[in-house]
């Protein structure tokens, strides 16, 4: 695969960093070179959070992403901030339950997924992030769905084992969303 730069952005508490960790571990499992860089600061629930994940077959140069290949925007400010930075031909995944605008650019592929609403309807309100990730995996054959359960099991602490199944459910919802 070519080097893929993924930027995930949203509010604190939406699982932005966790979603990034999932992708990073997925890359690790597939023997790729990986970097995961969180925004850090006096952050709190409701503040902004973002995280940069680079997946590559060659050593990762800068872990800082200026122009993402894939943008996952979980709120409007994040979309507005990064929409123009996405490389032409790149992908934008946005939570259309929280973002009610359309992307005006025509040189990118946009996926509108009402992830927060879908998660609420299924009683897994905190897993909108993983619904979006499911869609990312589905639309990037290089990333594939294979082994996702192992990655989820690795990320979810043993005390919260019940969450493994729910994370898998969210991933599958994203995978199947058309």
């Amino acid at each position: 695969m070519k080097t893929t730069q993924i930027l995930i952005a949203g509010f604190g508490g939406q699982g932005v960093l966790f979603a990034g960790k999932f992708l990073a571990y997925k890359g690790l499992m597939e023997d790729l070179q990986v970097s995961w860089l969180p925004s850090y600061g006096p952050e709190m629930r409701g503040g902004t959070a973002n995280c940069s994940v680079v997946l590559s077959e060659t050593p990762v140069g800068s872990p800082i992403i200026s122009n993402p290949d894939v943008l996952i925007a979980m709120n409007l400010p994040s979309l507005q901030k990064y929409v123009d930075a996405v490389v032409p031909g790149g992908q934008i995944y946005l939570d259309s339950a929280l973002i009610d605008v359309k992307v005006e650019r025509t040189d990118v592929e946009v996926f509108y997924i009402p992830a927060t609403q879908m998660a609420k309807d299924e009683g897994i309100a905190t897993l909108a992030n993983m619904i979006l990730i499911g869609s990312v995996l589905q639309n990037n054959p290089e990333l594939s769905f294979e082994g996702t359960d192992t990655v989820v099991s690795k990320l979810v602490p043993p005390k919260k084992a019940a969450l493994v199944e729910l994370n898998m459910k969210a991933l599958n919802m994203g995978k199947e969303y058309k």
Binding site: Y25, G41, G61, S62, I64
Partner: protein
């Protein structure tokens, strides 16, 4: 082969320190390095070590001084303003010739500054910080793997030369996660006849001290110490060269700046600009010979730094001012983009430094 795991840079330092035989950590929390203390708090008691959160940075560095005097492997970690507070202790430790490892995960300054990554403590680390004539071995990791390997190397060099080894990292490398493998490495041990280990009534007691009231004695001590520093300067410089074989422009960058610079070098090559990179891994001793050799063949240098330009002075000195040196920098917690570095390489290509 050992398993590849994902770890934050800060955690990699802590794990490597434990593997290097460090059993004493004294510190005080500060962003962006607190994961080191958190990891030590969790892990050190399980291996019979001591984790202690002191009441201040000053207290913690003096605890390091005390533990170091007993010959045990000991460390502390902090970020820029905290290192300023520890600087008195650093001078005392250097003046007593005892080994210790000190980590600085830099953030923007001066003053309380900010909490985003920076490299503006280069002067403080390589030229002093504390008072008096002294040096520290300064290691600059550029990846999570190096956060670990240079921590192990730092403990070894500290013991070998009875000096402070400083890991000079930054907020980005501290906070980011990358795959890392810990190979089972033999940890060298060193005789420490000077250590305060209890005489058991069998030998004359040792004294660890930095006070010499007779000027001739203090002078002799300084000269002796600098003979040791000369050996370190001869034997221990470390650096990486990237695409330097036919380079006409030499980028010099360390830590996170070198990662950005590498991207820019690749992009410049694609435009036909013959750029290369020298990445100092030891900032003191500075890889003077590598820079001097480069000065013979390149047209000029570009120093890429997260500061107002500090390492650039060593680049000029080491290259004997033979070739022009440009500065490409951001400060205050900002990081130059590969495009910004590329732009300065395009200028250099046109002879604009």
């Amino acid at each position: 082969m050992a398993e590849r795991v994902l770890m934050k840079g800060n955690e990699a330092i802590a794990e490597a320190a434990i593997r290097a035989g460090c059993r004493h950590y004294f510190g005080y929390p500060i962003t962006p390095q607190t994961e080191i203390a958190a990891y030590m708090a969790k892990k050190l008691p399980k291996v019979g070590g001591i984790f202690l959160q002191a009441e201040s940075e000053i207290a913690s560095i003096n605890m390091v001084y005390g533990a170091a005097a007993t010959g045990t492997r000991v460390m502390t970690s902090s970020s820029s303003p905290g290192i300023s507070l520890k600087s008195e202790g650093l001078s005392y430790i250097a003046g007593s010739d005892v080994p210790a490892l000190v980590v600085n995960v830099q953030r923007g300054g001066p003053g309380l500054g900010g909490i985003q990554p920076s490299q503006s403590d280069y002067f403080q680390a390589t030229k002093g910080g504390g008072h008096g004539d002294y040096r520290m071995i300064v290691l600059a990791p550029a990846s999570v793997q190096e956060m670990a390997s240079l921590t192990m190397k730092g403990f070894d060099l500290a013991d070998k030369y009875n000096m402070i080894s400083m890991i000079l990292a930054d907020g980005t490398i501290g906070q980011m996660m990358e795959p890392i493998t810990f190979e089972d490495a033999e940890v060298a041990t060193y005789e420490k006849p000077w250590a305060l280990t209890g005489t058991e009534g069998k030998r004359k007691h040792n004294i660890v001290n930095s006070l010499y009231l007779k000027p001739d004695e203090l002078e002799a001590k300084n000269f002796e110490r600098f003979e040791k520093y000369a050996i370190v300067e001869e034997n221990e410089p470390m650096w990486e060269e990237y695409m330097m074989e036919d380079a006409e422009i030499c980028v010099v960058a360390f830590g996170i700046a070198s990662r950005v610079a590498k991207n820019a070098v690749v992009a410049a090559r694609a435009e036909g600009i013959k750029a290369g990179l020298i990445r100092p891994i030891t900032l003191w001793p500075f890889p003077k010979k590598a820079l001097a050799a480069a000065a013979e063949k390149v047209n000029g240098f570009v120093s890429v730094e997260l500061s107002m330009g500090q390492m650039i002075e060593d680049v000029r000195l080491a290259s004997g001012c033979k070739k022009p040196v440009a500065l490409c920098n951001r400060a205050g917690g900002m990081i130059p983009s590969p495009d910004e570095v590329l732009e300065s390489l395009r200028k250099a290509q046109k002879g604009e430094y």
